[in-house]
């Protein structure tokens, strides 16, 4: 390959972070460029070309930029560097390592390396000299934190290659050459620990993508028990502000049964991210006993950082996830919030004077979102191993209106829908996921049902449907009681209402800040759902509706205390004994 000459251009116009330019050289759509502003080099991306006018979105503040400022085009699209050492890093949307900046305020135009260039890794070969390999095949591995991190054939290669040389097991520096590959045309490729990949291109170095069939355990009861998300599945959480999106996502990120968790904080509140920075290193991973931060990568693009970098941050997160998936790992991405990303698209579309779609969002919004969600999934790799990316994004619907364009567009792509309800949040029924509005399409998948029956209980889907019916019935009779009055409905209506309340208080509601209640393993969830459904099936003898309420409030209080106590502990069993006494007071044998 010949290195193209340096391509130059000049600034001809500025509107906020949209920069207009001209160049005598050819430029490509989405090509990355640097705009020189004195000492500073500001990163930009080509987003439109008309005749000789080039439109660039600048990822940094354009304050002080002038007509005639020089531009250098790079020939590359926006890329991330993939290699060992990414776990427990905190990056911005452009993969700058934020911990390497020691200043209080992020200065414009400064960069930092994504990986630690001086780091030393113990490499163990997984392939042999003379072996035929393709892009994404495993050449060797290093242990990154507790995770086997595979060093793979560069994804950019096409066709088959022979391993001409592979270093023996030993310690090597990040930039050492580990292998040399050749193809039929005798082209030689050197493989190092790291490689690069353009963020907006889907990384497809696997053999096939299948329908998700296994459940991803989150420890959150309302999700696992009633609205489960599949490993390799997609879901989204829309909700007005203040309904607990962030708390729910944090809970999932702390507890989910995944090997790698990528937290894309996109246009998020800076203080909440600082909170994640300070809190995560302290927390233990409930699955491995290590520190949570060791399996986590945070991509932080707070709402004060330039809008264009917000768009980059979700793509950066997805690309890093695809890289780890190709090592045969379970990856979970949490993005908060995809609405901020859509707004970034809108701001740019607006400056480009494109004809607007609904609510001034760009017309291709639905397609952009669908494309992005489609990058998640459960895959079989070339070597027969499996890997997955589960994607869970939040949406911040403007005005809490679920008919707005971003929510609508996302609903078409995501298979799980966790609607957060303002009313439940007002009543402090957290997590405020609405049990009747929300759904998981995976529950209808036969392969998922098989999995649940094998791994949890043979009657699991039946139980889940029954619990949902009781909740729905509870809501219906509640409306009736409100219309007709306590006296105006049969006594049985009150019983049905309160049975739904038991499920609501005990299964759905969960205290994310209580050390025990915060996380419920699936075995305990099975016990609780079976137990509560048993109570719901019992017949009781009541004299009047006031007695119904008093009785069930005692049951709820008892079951709540159960949730606060350690599973199968002495205290736990004692609470169950107390419960029998309360139940027997009213139960018809």
């Amino acid at each position: 390959m010949t290195t193209p000459s340096i391509k130059q251009g000049k600034v001809t116009g500025i509107i906020s972070n949209l920069v207009m330019a001209v160049s005598d050289e050819p430029v490509a759509q989405n090509e990355i460029c640097y705009i020189g502003l004195g000492e500073e080099q500001l990163l930009g991306e080509v987003i439109k070309v008309i005749g000789k006018d080039i439109f660039i979105q600048c990822f940094e503040s354009t304050r002080g930029m002038k007509i005639g400022n020089p531009i250098r085009f790079t020939n590359d699209m926006l890329e991330v560097t993939l290699g060992p050492g990414m776990l427990s890093k905190i990056y911005d949307g452009l993969q700058n390592d934020l911990k390497k900046f020691d200043t209080l305020f992020l200065r414009r135009g400064i960069r930092s390396d994504a990986l630690d260039t001086e780091s030393l890794w113990h490499f163990k070969p997984l392939a042999e000299q003379g072996q035929r390999v393709h892009a994404g095949d495993w050449l060797g591995e290093v242990i990154e934190k507790a995770i086997p991190h595979r060093i793979m054939v560069p994804f950019k290669l096409s066709g088959s290659y022979i391993i001409e040389k592979l270093v023996p097991e030993g310690s090597y520096h990040l930039n050492d050459v580990l292998a040399v590959l050749t193809n039929e045309a005798k082209e030689k490729v050197e493989v190092k620990f790291w490689q690069k990949w353009p963020v907006k291109k889907t990384l497809k170095a696997y053999s096939e993508k299948v329908r998700p069939f296994a459940m991803l355990e989150t420890g959150v009861r309302i999700i696992d028990s009633l609205i489960p998300i599949a490993e390799g599945g997609t879901g989204f959480i829309p909700g007005p502000f203040g309904t607990g999106k962030t708390v729910l996502q944090h809970a999932i990120s702390k507890q989910a049964a995944a090997d790698v968790i990528i937290f894309a904080a996109c246009g998020e509140r800076a203080n909440e991210i600082v909170d994640v920075f300070t809190e995560f290193p302290e927390l233990d991973d409930p699955h491995t006993g290590g520190k949570l931060m060791e399996r986590t990568i945070i991509i932080a693009n707070t709402s004060n950082m330039p809008v264009a970098a917000r768009e980059a941050s979700v793509y950066t997160a997805m690309t890093i996830a695809e890289y780890y998936r190709n090592m045969g790992l379970k990856v979970l991405i949490l993005a908060d919030s995809t609405s901020r990303w859509a707004q970034a698209l809108r701001e740019m579309s607006n400056r480009l004077e494109e004809l607007p779609g609904p609510d001034a969002f760009p017309m291709d919004l639905t397609a952009v979102i669908a494309n992005f969600y489609a990058r998640a999934g459960y895959v079989y790799l070339n070597n027969g191993k499996t890997g997955s990316i589960t994607f869970l994004g939040t949406v911040s619907p403007s005005g809490g209106n679920l008919k707005e364009p971003v929510t609508e567009a996302t609903k078409k792509s995501a298979r799980c829908f966790y609607a957060l309800s303002q009313k439940r949040a007002d009543q402090k029924r957290y997590p405020a996921v609405d049990p009747t509005e929300s759904y998981s399409k995976y529950l209808e998948y036969p392969e998922m049902q098989n999995y649940l029956h094998e791994h949890i209980s043979p009657r699991w889907t039946e139980m889940v449907i029954r619990a949902k019916d009781i909740l729905l019935r509870g809501r219906e009779v509640y409306d009736q009681i409100n219309i007709l009055g306590d006296d105006g409905v049969p006594l049985n209506y009150h019983v049905q209402f309160w049975k739904a309340e038991v499920i609501d208080f005990v299964i759905l509601q969960q205290d994310a800040f209580d050390s025990i209640d915060a996380m419920t393993p699936i075995e305990r969830q099975r016990f609780m759902l079976e137990h509560v459904l048993q109570i719901c099936q019992m017949e009781f003898d009541f004299k009047g509706f006031e007695e119904v309420a008093t009785f069930f409030k005692r049951i709820i209080n008892n079951l709540k205390q159960l949730n606060y106590s350690r599973y199968e502990s002495e205290e736990f069993n004692k609470i169950l004994e107390d419960q029998k006494l309360i139940i027997n007071e009213k139960r018809i044998a």
Binding site: R63, E272, K553
Partner: protein, 421 residues
């Protein structure tokens, strides 16, 4: 503004709008300040040699041959401790007849609706959502005076002149004037100037917080008027507006301000409390809606007609950062007591619906209603001024008066410890 030697002066204005004007010039840099016939303006768009200037005091009277001088600098504020006790305008110039300025973490407020249910933390940003008729200026002044902050910076955006005098008097009378710096744009001033006030206030705040390690409290009132000014400028620049005629960049514009709130490791902090006035309590409007997604919670003021007082609405109000302190820096029962108190209050709302629909109330409904009234009066009303432990004790007293232990669903060990017989 003084003229300097050898500064190029431009004379040919090619386009004039209500808030912006355009001229041909090839030396402007983005965001820099310019002076047009003595008025301050800022570069907001450059396309080729066409430069668009946003004129802060309005373009009325600007002729097509106006003199334009570019300063080569973005807006700056001269900062020093001399700022303390001063009232300045949108350009950082004194309006209190004083001399020119020379260059050089838990926040208790005593208001239970805030301290108990929505505890504030240093470095937080939180707005009051209030209808214009509500006494938000009084509440802001109360918070300012009670909060244990080293420095208070008031940014008055489109403040009524009467309210400006209210703040001035109340700060002077409380003897707190030394701690306070005010940047004021009143309704008498041009509306585009309002865009400068938050920047000025926050720049001053950064100085006190970073250079002097002070706990700074920034009060901004009213950001709805700031957003209105944004929409005027964007409209004049022919931008396509999004929801409610607000610019598409509204979220980013507001975030840029609010994200200045921070707790520095060195001890200094900037806490922002702002007012966003609503129209008829509508929080789905683009301004409160975007604000709600940026700020760490919001405080709602509502008139409780039953007790005849303004209360901090426990349903819609929220402090996101309270989790950092409640039950840790405050008493252990704080989180559960707070949630239970609000849940019982929401049960009273159901009872009230029943009452309005003409149904008989059961015993629990009646207890809820009586509880709600007392809860509102003793804890939610904004004239309450007590310590947090007292608030928690009052809550337990109310629980014991109106409810049974098992109706609380609070963790048993806390009930055993704090239940008042």
């Amino acid at each position: 503004m003084k003229y300097q030697a050898f500064q190029p002066i431009f004379h040919k204005i090619t386009r004039i709008n209500k808030a912006t004007c355009e001229l041909r010039c090839n030396m402007a840099s983005y965001d820099e300040l310019a002076i047009i016939n003595g008025r301050l303006a800022q570069v907001v768009k450059i396309v080729g040699d066409h430069v668009t200037l946003q004129v802060f005091s309005g373009t009325d009277g600007i002729p097509t041959d106006a003199e334009v001088i570019f300063t080569g600098k973005p807006p700056v504020l001269k900062v020093s401790t001399d700022l303390a006790g001063r009232f300045l305008n949108a350009y950082g110039k004194p309006i209190d007849n004083g001399p020119e300025v020379q260059g050089e973490s838990l926040i208790p407020t005593g208001i239970a609706g805030i301290d108990l249910n929505n505890t504030l933390v240093t470095g937080q940003k939180i707005p009051f959502f209030a209808d214009p008729e509500q006494p938000y200026n009084q509440v802001m002044a109360d918070v300012a005076l009670r909060a244990k902050a080293d420095r208070i910076i008031l940014g008055g955006i489109g403040l009524q002149h009467d309210d400006y005098l209210f703040y001035k008097n109340i700060f002077e009378n409380a003897g707190a004037i030394d701690r306070i710096v005010s940047f004021i744009n009143t309704t008498e001033d041009p509306s585009i100037e309002r865009l400068l006030i938050p920047d000025m206030a926050l720049t001053a705040a950064e100085y006190f917080a970073v250079d002097r390690n002070e706990k700074v409290l920034v009060l901004l009132t009213d950001l709805t008027l700031y957003c209105d000014a944004l929409s005027i400028v964007s409209n004049n620049m022919d931008q396509i507006s999004s929801k409610d005629n607000m610019p598409a960049s509204l979220y980013s514009d507001l975030a840029r301000l609010y994200e200045k709130a921070v707790q520095f490791p060195s001890g200094g902090s900037i806490t922002i409390i702002a007012v966003t006035t609503l129209s008829g309590g509508d929080i789905t409007h683009a301004i409160p809606d975007n604000t709600g997604y940026i700020t760490e919670g919001q405080l709602f003021l509502r008139r409780d007609s039953e007790i005849g007082k303004t209360i901090v609405d426990p349903f819609r109000s929220l402090s996101r950062l309270k989790q950092l302190v409640i039950g840790k820096k405050t008493r252990e029962d704080h989180p559960q007591v707070m949630n239970t108190a609000v849940r019982l209050y929401s049960d009273s709302a159901n009872a009230r619906t029943k009452l309005e629909n003409g149904f008989d109330l059961n015993d629990y409904d009646k207890r809820c209603l009586s509880y709600a009234k007392e809860y509102s009066e003793k804890l939610l009303a904004i004239d309450v001024n007590v310590g947090i432990d007292d608030m928690l004790n009052t809550s337990w007293e109310l629980f014991a008066r109106y409810f049974k232990k098992e109706e609380l669903t609070i963790r048993q060990d806390l009930v055993d410890k704090y239940w008042k017989n």
